[in-house]
């Protein structure tokens, strides 16, 4: 899969994007390239039959959201993600080796091979967990934000979720609570236009989602995920608001380049729409922008790409070489380590 981009330079919109520091944009670009390179290799892992299951949701096309908001978050901040969360975690500093190993269900994965792609987490990096329940991880950040407020810590907690979660009631319960309690919480909706095969206008009658958030008392904005700089800037702005105790909602609109999960070929989308959608490429756009500003050469970009690919190839090798979890580990981590572990079911009776 190439990250060839259409000529999008001239479609730059009027956000104060030019204000963005080229160094920051370069960092964002690098982050996005790494994400895409990682996701492509998750696809490979699957094709090799090395992934734990087929429920692998790639964030290709959504790198602008992950990298932009990811960089805007600060050390100590926490977050949860939906099932399509690889990119977000990479943008927050994840080690690709342990991610890939987790996706392969190996013992050296972030979650000891128990969680898999949909349940990656890392408390050290503030990743409170990916979730396989649409909307399931949203109220978690309200709780984390309550901790920060109660314990007088300067952090924000951000929930990342897809447009599908906009129709889950728990989002509104969570936003209302956050607003009521003035919590440092952020609700980041990555609107990739689809929930599985359902286009967003087939799931919601009214598509102004910032209006929903505002009606619940949040500060809300929408930004195009194609423009990673704009995402970063808008997110930075809103996260600062959240940090002061007004929860925020940010919709990052983008397009899901591929199928829902590894096996889905998106027969419900027509070719034109898909081709058009894939022109909304945040990587190509940032690259072209930097090249146009003479802040990057194609050769330099190729190096970024090559480095990322090498790093992610190594992650694949790491995951493939990694050991599966031992059978006894299955009974660990159900309860706190000092408690008795569940015992295998085999009933014991001596005739």
């Amino acid at each position: 899969m190439s990250s060839a981009s259409a000529d999008t330079t001239n479609t730059l919109d009027a956000t104060n994007n030019d204000a963005i520091d080229t160094k920051v944009l370069l960092e964002l670009l690098t982050s996005m390239v790494r994400i895409r390179s990682f996701e492509e290799r998750v696809g490979e892992l699957f094709l090799k039959g090395q992934s734990a299951g087929t429920m692998l949701h790639l964030s290709i096309g959504e790198e602008g959201a992950a990298a932009g908001v990811g960089l805007a978050l600060q050390e100590g901040d926490s977050f949860t993600t939906h099932h399509r969360g690889h990119g977000i975690f990479l943008a927050r500093g994840a080690d690709p080796n342990h991610m890939m190993a987790e996706i392969a269900g190996k013992a050296s994965g972030y979650c000891r091979g128990k969680g898999g792609s949909m349940h990656i987490a890392d408390m050290q990096l503030g990743h409170l967990g990916a979730n396989a329940i649409v909307g399931g991880g949203i109220p978690t950040v309200v709780g984390a934000a309550l901790s920060y407020k109660t314990l007088q810590q300067p952090y924000v907690s951000a929930a990342f979720f897809g447009d599908g979660a906009l129709q889950q009631g728990i989002l509104y319960e969570a936003m209302n609570l956050a607003a009521l309690w003035n919590l440092p919480a952020a609700f980041i909706c990555i609107n990739n236009q689809y929930g599985m095969g359902t286009r967003i206008d087939q799931a919601a009658a009214s598509l102004d989602f910032t209006a929903r958030a505002k009606a619940f008392g949040l500060m809300a904005a929408s930004v195009s995920g194609e423009d990673v700089g704009a995402v970063y800037q808008k997110a930075t702005e809103l996260l600062e608001v959240a940090r002061q105790g007004t929860p925020v909602f940010l919709e990052v609109s983008c397009y899901r380049f591929h199928g829902h999960a590894r096996k889905d070929k998106s027969p419900y989308r027509d070719a034109d729409e898909e081709a058009q959608g894939r022109t909304r490429d945040p990587i190509g756009r940032a690259r072209d922008q930097l090249i146009a500003a003479s802040s990057l050469t194609q050769t330099q970009f190729d190096t970024i790409q090559r480095d990322a690919d090498a790093e992610m190839d190594a992650a694949i090798s790491f995951a493939e070489a990694a050991e599966p979890p031992t059978l006894t580990s299955m009974f660990e981590d159900v309860y706190t380590p000092t408690a008795a572990k569940p015992t295998p079911v085999a009933e014991s009776w001596q005739p």
Binding site: G116, W349, P351
Partner: protein, 354 residues
């Protein structure tokens, strides 16, 4: 002020005619599809609603082709709103439709459990029998696809514990068809639980089926009774084969088919005859469906028991994603065989131990 909301409705709906959709049954999935297609043709009140049931054809492709055939007013794609999906089905069922709602995974039942257990199950009772909730809630559960802790559960024990709900769990291709057809005609809410690892299970439609509420003796035997349902039936049948080959044991294998109604009589008769039993379920051991069966049987067959009734169930852990661990977390054929051997191990010492 006296218009009845239900009576006039049914007649007008039934009069709508629909072209049949031919479905060739080769496996569990197509058997389900055939039942839905026929049900929709025969009764215009039947509508399907759920996530991805329409254009997408269902996450596990069960409803494939129905949207195209029956149209958007009979097959409704919903947003991701599990509680409202079930609630909508309830309201529709109370007012003249016969909705078949789908929750893509039984694991999502937690989002709709209030609508399922406090509303659908109790409406007839709380309202003194005035109205029923003739809906079907199709859900899919179990392990087998490394789908992780939130997409691999077997939660039938929750549902079986709620008075007012019917719980159907077909294990065979033929039952997938006949039980779903019956569910479409049930006047009570039916929780219809499919197993994700059975969709590709091959088989044929039999000419007829046992009535709903009758357990099926899938293999008759004399030495021990093995009781199961849904996917575990097949492992149990394999275990029975092994026991015959290797231990010269003639096991009787019973398939519950439905957990509510529960056919205690067939179980009691069998275990009273064999004197030994193992109950096999995929759900987590503690509080499993198997526990209920054991508790009943040790009363009903007490005077005939030569050994305790053993359970082979899922481990008391969340389902891990690693394929190796996932497989180890639920019963396999050998664990069933071993349990049966243990139950049979008192054969030499019969009578002495008690």
């Amino acid at each position: 002020m006296t218009a009845s909301t239900t009576t006039s409705v049914t007649t007008s709906a039934q009069s709508i005619m629909t072209q049949p959709l031919e479905v060739n049954v080769t496996d569990y999935r197509s058997a389900l599809r055939k039942a839905l297609a026929e049900g929709m043709t025969e009764d215009a009140r039947v509508v399907i609603l759920g996530e991805e049931v329409g254009r997408y054809g269902g996450a596990y492709a069960v409803t494939k082709g129905l949207y195209e055939h029956f149209g958007a007013s009979r097959v409704l794609d919903t947003p991701i709103s599990e509680a409202a999906i079930v609630g909508t089905a309830i309201g529709a069922a109370m007012t003249g439709l016969r909705p078949v709602a789908e929750l893509m995974y039984v694991d999502f039942a937690g989002l709709a459990m209030d609508q399922i257990a406090n509303q659908a199950a109790k409406i007839r009772y709380m309202f003194g029998g005035q109205v029923g909730v003739p809906m079907v809630l199709r859900m899919q559960g179990g392990t087998g696809r490394s789908a992780g802790a939130q997409h691999s559960q077997s939660l039938e024990a929750w549902l079986m514990h709620v008075p007012g709900l019917r719980v159907y769990m077909p294990a065979t291709v033929s039952d997938a068809y006949y039980l779903l057809k019956a569910a479409l005609q049930s006047d009570d809410p039916v929780m219809f639980l499919e197993h994700k690892s059975l969709y590709t299970h091959k088989g044929e439609l039999e000419d007829d089926a046992l009535p709903v509420g009758k357990a099926a003796v899938r293999k008759s035997g004399t030495d021990i009774t093995l009781i199961s349902y849904s996917r575990m039936l097949h492992r149990t049948l394999e275990a029975a084969k092994l026991l015959a080959q290797e231990d010269d044991v003639n096991a009787e294998v019973i398939d519950l088919r439905t957990l509510n109604p529960l056919d205690s009589d067939t179980l009691a008769e069998s275990v009273s005859r064999t004197g030994r039993a193992v109950v096999i379920s995929e759900d987590t051991f503690t509080g499993s469906v198997a526990a209920e069966l054991v508790a009943r049987l040790q009363v009903d067959a007490f005077d005939f028991l030569e050994a305790p009734i053993l359970r082979v169930c899922g481990e008391d852990i969340p389902i891990p994603v690693s394929p190796e661990l996932e497989a180890a977390a639920v019963p396999d054929v050998m664990r069933i065989v071993q349990a049966a051997r243990l139950a049979l191990s008192s054969r030499q010492t019969t009578g002495a131990s008690r």
